[in-house]
């Protein structure tokens, strides 16, 4: 069973890492947009 759990866990870790990177990129872009709006 340890291989089964390892495979399922690995799948969700990969997706979670990717989703985390999307959230980070999104917040960085929103901050850049705010900074640009302030600079104008």
């Amino acid at each position: 069973m340890k291989y089964l759990y390892a495979a399922y866990l690995a799948t969700w870790v990969i997706h979670a890492v990717y989703l985390g990177s999307l959230v980070r990129r999104s917040s960085r872009l929103r901050q850049q947009l705010k900074d640009l709006a302030k600079a104008r």
Partner: protein, 226 residues
């Protein structure tokens, strides 16, 4: 359209939870491999989803090459990126299944090698998109995507045409599967397709935001230069 996102996200989460329950507790246990065979319910749908995303990437790349439509270019980029994530799942879950069943993590078998090559082609596509600033980048990436997509049928049909250690196809190609297992497999694929759709949607919105920011910076630098 935006207000549908949270509703679809909740429905997808419920479907993924149901698919997980079906894969672990409802699907019958395979006679020779035992419970480790259940990795199949994540491995195969992830592979099919990656193939589908790479196919959409091909279509979007062709549309970009013909019409120079920036939205098609964004769709191609998004599908390649999410496809690489699903292909990574395939390349990680495969060896985890192979270790207890074959006694080895990896072998340079045709199916495994072509899948690794497919992953490398799309990773190089993403590297090209990430580190090249040239105006020609979308066009070069679209051409690379066409070469990458040629590997998809090679991966899929490799187990039909070559002698390989990889299990034979469960659908078509003379393979057979217990109908209860097939049902669980299809439920899991549907769940992963919905998940992939939502991830692509989010990534597309992010890409559009990125382009908006890039454009604003270019306008600002032009204004500064004037």
């Amino acid at each position: 359209m935006k207000r549908w996102f949270p509703i679809l996200a909740v429905l997808t989460a419920l479907l993924l939870a149901y698919a997980f329950y079906e894969a672990l507790w409802v699907a019958p246990t395979e006679r020779t491999m035992g419970d480790v065979q259940r990795i199949f319910y994540y491995h195969v749908p992830s592979a099919w989803t990656a193939f589908l995303l790479f196919t959409v990437n091909l279509v979007a790349s062709l549309v970009y090459l013909i019409k120079r439509n920036p939205k098609a270019d964004a769709v191609a980029l998004v599908c390649a990126e999410v496809g690489v994530v699903f292909c990574t799942v395939v390349l990680v879950t495969g060896p985890i299944w192979a270790r207890p069943v074959w006694g080895i993590w990896w072998t340079w078998d045709v199916r495994l090698t072509t899948t690794l090559v497919l992953w490398l082609i799309y990773v190089s596509y993403l590297v090209l998109r990430r580190f090249s600033d040239s105006a020609q980048t979308p066009m070069l990436a679209a051409v690379l995507a066409i070469f990458g997509a040629l590997d998809v049928p090679l991966v899929y049909f490799s187990i039909w045409f070559f002698r390989t250690q990889h299990p034979q196809p469960v659908i078509g190609g003379g393979g057979s599967i217990d109908p209860r297992m097939l049902r669980v497999l299809l439920i899991n694929w549907l769940a992963f397709l919905c998940f992939a759709f939502l991830v692509c949607w989010s990534r597309y919105r992010l890409e559009m935001l990125q382009r908006e920011v890039d454009e604003a910076y270019s306008l600002e630098s032009l204004g500064g230069a004037a």
